[in-house]
Structure formats: C-alpha cells, structure tokens
Symmetry: C2
Subunit: 360 residues, 2 copies
Amino acid sequence: MQTLNVEFAERSYPIHIGQDLLARADLIRPHLKRKQVAVVTNTTIGPLYLEQLCAPLRRENVDIVTIILPDGEHYKNAEILGKIYDALLENRCERGTTLLALGGGVVGDMTGYAAATFLRGVPFIQVPTTLLAQVDSSVGGKTGINHPLGKNMIGAFWQPKLVLADTRTLNTLPDRELSAGLAEIIKYGLIRDPEFFVWLEQNMPRLMAREPAALAYAVRRSCENKAAVVAADERENGVRALLNLGHTFGHAIEAGMGYGVWLHGEAVAAGTMLAADLSRRLGWLSDADVSRIAAIHQAANLPVAAPQLDPDTYLDLMGLDKKVQDGKIRLILLQAIGKATFTADYPPALLRDTLAAAHA
Amino acid sequence: MQTLNVEFAERSYPIHIGQDLLARADLIRPHLKRKQVAVVTNTTIGPLYLEQLCAPLRRENVDIVTIILPDGEHYKNAEILGKIYDALLENRCERGTTLLALGGGVVGDMTGYAAATFLRGVPFIQVPTTLLAQVDSSVGGKTGINHPLGKNMIGAFWQPKLVLADTRTLNTLPDRELSAGLAEIIKYGLIRDPEFFVWLEQNMPRLMAREPAALAYAVRRSCENKAAVVAADERENGVRALLNLGHTFGHAIEAGMGYGVWLHGEAVAAGTMLAADLSRRLGWLSDADVSRIAAIHQAANLPVAAPQLDPDTYLDLMGLDKKVQDGKIRLILLQAIGKATFTADYPPALLRDTLAAAHA
C-alpha cells in the first residue's frame, strides 16, 4: 500500500493506493466521527463490492445504511440526488454520519455533493472503483450533479476525509472505461509532467494489460500531480484550471452527443486532440508533438477524432462551460508536451478552423 | 447609515444598516466581480422594491437578470431551487455573476444556497426586507432549503459579500412578521446580552411602533451579537448552537403544524417558552424569570403557548433536528436571563413534563 497526503490548510486527507484495500475496515474506522456510515453505490458496483466493504465494518459494530443508485451518467441529476437525501433522512442519519462513496465518478460526485449539502455538510469518504475516479474525481474536492443545460453545473467543493483507491477493483472495469481513465492519466503528463508522459509512452501496454504495479504507479503519480495543483489552488482561480485540458471541448462533445453516449474520458481524449490542434495552429506545438499525443491516445485505445458537430454547435455548447469570463471562452492549450496554459488570448478564427477541421 | 463588519479569516463582509439603502447602487457596485447581477425576489416583495433596487444599478450599466419566486415558506424546496438554476443557466450567468437576494429569510436562504452551489459557488449579496432576515438569516452564512422530512435539511455555509439592511423596507412588513422578527431579537438578549434584554423590555413599544432609530439600534445590536458568536464558530461546532434557543422546539412546532401555519419567529417564541419552562424545572430559572420572558414576548405580540401536539409527536419531530448526537436530543437551555447553555445533560422525564404541560 502506498499513501499520499493531500495537503490543505485545515483539512488534509490521505489517499491510500494498492491491492485489496476495500475490506480494510482498520483504515476506515479511525476516520469515522460516529459509528454510522451511509454507503452510496450503484446497481453495477453494489453486487461486486458492497458486501466486501461492509462485512468488516459491521464486525466492528458500525451501523451501515446502504443506498443503491441506478448506474449511469444520466442519473447524475437532481432527482436521484433527492433520493439520497430521502434515504439519509428516513434512516435518521445525523451530522456525525459519514457518507461513503463506493463506485466511479458519478457515485463519487453525487455522494460528495450530498455530503456537502446534507445538514449543511457531513463527513465523506471515497472508495473509487474506476481508474478515472481514482486519478481524477477522488482528488480535489469537486462534487456535483448535472443540469439539463450543462454538466456539473450544480455543485460544491467538499474534501473527503479519506480516499481508498483499491487497484483490484480495476479488474472488473470494462475495457472502454479503463481507456477513459487512461485519458486523464495522459493529461497529467501533457499539462505538467513530461517525464511521466515518456513513462506512459513506454508503459502503456502494461497499463492496458492491467498490471497491478504499473496501475498503482500511474494512479499515484497522477494523484500526486493533481494534489500538487489542487493544493495550490483549491477553488480553481488559477493553475487548477490546467487540469481541464480537453474538458471544455470534451464537455461540448458530451453535451452535443447526449450525456452517456461518449464516456467522459473519451470526450476528454478527443477534446485534448482539439486543444492540441489549436495549439499547433498557434505555432506552439509541432506536427511531431501532435503525432505523439495522438499516438499515446491510440495506444490507450482512445478516440482521437472528435464527433462531427457543427462548429457553431461546438461554440454554443462551449459557451455554457464554467470557464467563460465576460463572454470569451478561455481554453487550456499546450505550449509543449508537459506545459499547459490557460488563456483567452487566441485568434477566434483559429478556434473556428480547428472545429471546422474536426467537422470535415 | 451604520456599518458593522462581520469578521472571518478570509472573507469578512460589511452589513450596512439604515434608511433608504435599497437604492444605493454605490454601495453595491464595489462588490460586483463583473457587471451582472441575478436578483432573486418573490411575488410580494418584487412589486414593492425590485424597481427601486434595479433602476440605479441599470444606470451604472449593470446587466440584471430577475428571478421572481412564489412567496412562502412552503416554496423553500428543491423544485423552486431548480427554477433558480434554470433561470441562471438560461440567462447564461457565469462564475462572476453575483446573486442578490431581495426579500425575507426564505428568499435569502434559497438564493444563498443557489449561490453556494451554482457552478460550485458564485458571489452573493443580501438585501433582507424583513426584520427576521435582517437580524438572523443575513448574518452567519447559513443557507438552504427544506425537505419534506425536515426544515433546512439541505444546505451549505456560504457567506455574503455584503448585506444591506434597509429599515425602511420594514414599513411594509405585516404586523405578524414584525413580531416574528422581534422573537429573534429577544433571543439575543436571552442567550448572551442581559443589558440588551433590559433595553428591549423598556423599548418594545417603540419597536412595535416601527420607530426607525429604535429598529436600527435593535438590528445593529442583534447583528453584533450574532456576528460575535458566528465569528467564533462558523460551522456550529460549539457556541454557535446557542443561537438556536427555542429552535429545536420551534422546528418541531413548524413541522408538526405544517410549514407556513406558524411563522418561524412565532414557533421560536413558543419554543423559547418551552426551553424556559424546562430550565425552570431544572432549577436554573425562577418563576419570576419565566414571567419576564413571557411578558416581553407578549409585549411583542408573540405566542407564549405552544400548540397542543402530543409529547411523543414533539419528541419524534425534535429527533429529526440537526442537533441530535448519538440519538440524544441536545437543547439550548437558560441558566439565567442572558446566559444560555447547550446540553444533552438533563433528565428526559423533565423534558416530557414540559411537553406534557404544553399539551395540557
């Protein structure tokens, strides 16, 4: 087991990474304010891991409420959130009750948001079971739900007390979701860790084969990168925005295709290629750089071509992104492999060229 | 105009108190991150004050989105909250858009909660137009909505950038709501300010006559009391709970009678009398103390008798309150006029006696 501490002024928390952490009640117990846990999971993950998690806790006399959500991004909405509140209240959960998210990003985001807002805030533990959740949504405290007019439009910043990233749970992950997680891992290399990017170029086959040691290394290094950025900028005023490489394009892809058609990581991969293309048009990346970026995504079996939406549709959907300021779309672009920048200072015509090229 | 600064480590904010502050765009403008404000109000307050507030802002080229909610505590729910989000997104509000609450506690709580959660948090200004909101919900950052199973069960702590308490808006306040606000003002005297309690005993007729100077003094002194408590304990781990004198009983009264039948302040008044009765049974207050507490409430035209709910109904409803810990109901009780304590250390039989006496 490896442990990483995410440092904040008042509320640091540990991320444990390794095999078979799910059943380690000894890791969970010290973080419980009182012996009541509401475990939120979904209909896919519940049958696989709920009992493995709960049995050891029950043996320590922890009172457990289980809340099983339907599986899928399109359930990350106000209605299902309301069902979490209903269950918490019906089971008389209190301020000292800890909410535990067992599942991927959707379960983590919704459970975290429920924890941020139930009784104006209760403690929260994450047990992410997808690669994406382990390297992305479990670090940084972003929680929330979607709105029909945009992804993650409603939310809060709420830090977990503890994250358990059990790499064994990745064995049951569908191939497509493994790849989606790799998209976020590649992102850390691209925005700030060129050495890690090279490691990924060399080790992608091991990750695709789900070698535990390779996965644990990639998860830890990704979390380290994210934690470093987040600690410097918890509320996304500056450098944290760099973590959203490919996301403004990606959100437009997800919204334009209908949530759930493209996986988040797939949309980010295609969005990253759009960001790389625009960076090339700005003269920042070479053709060779763009080819390397395409190649590593392809090695992870990720899409490198964005869907053929109309450029105006793209611009419209991108305008709903949270990163708009005074009407101008700010984007994360690449100055080199391993160096990103957040800027609205680009010729709008070049953005349109990038979108038109994707459309062609 | 009087100004009080509520001090927090990173996010202090001013409360301006006085006549005719509503139209003072000069006070609002410096707090806007960008020139867009979403004003949330209701169907009662909107026709009275919306234009007075907005016209001067428009003259300064501030872009204004108006969101008019139905009036009433029973609309403080997830459905109406959703309509605020809809309007914000449909009008392309951004992270720099300021939400401004123009109205009473319901508008303030819902707008504040929308501000806390829209795009994971946007700036927020309060223009409270009821006495209750001026002395209570505008200080301390508590925001939220009700759930069918309990009041304020969903919420967040979110501090405003600015509060404008315009005492002129109290001229249009119905008598019953003026009294409800006085209940909270009396509370500050009871829990920590015996001198203010005496001032209130002497000046209640001036407040009932809505004399501006008396109102401004009472609002300022109440805000000072609340601000002092809140600054010491933003997230209600300790001393802040004292502000809830009468509230655990009061919430049970509101829930038991159906939200909106009793005004919040009326329920708090009757709840405070229950807390005083229990304090007397514990030997902390004298009969004379209890009589003084009853008399000041009566002078403010507030109910001193709780509704005749069954004691078990009370206990059941009180058990849903956020202040329960490990199944035991903690209460704010009075050790003297001007001195409150937060405790679960009382004989349950005495609580039952108090509730049974109310039932008789």
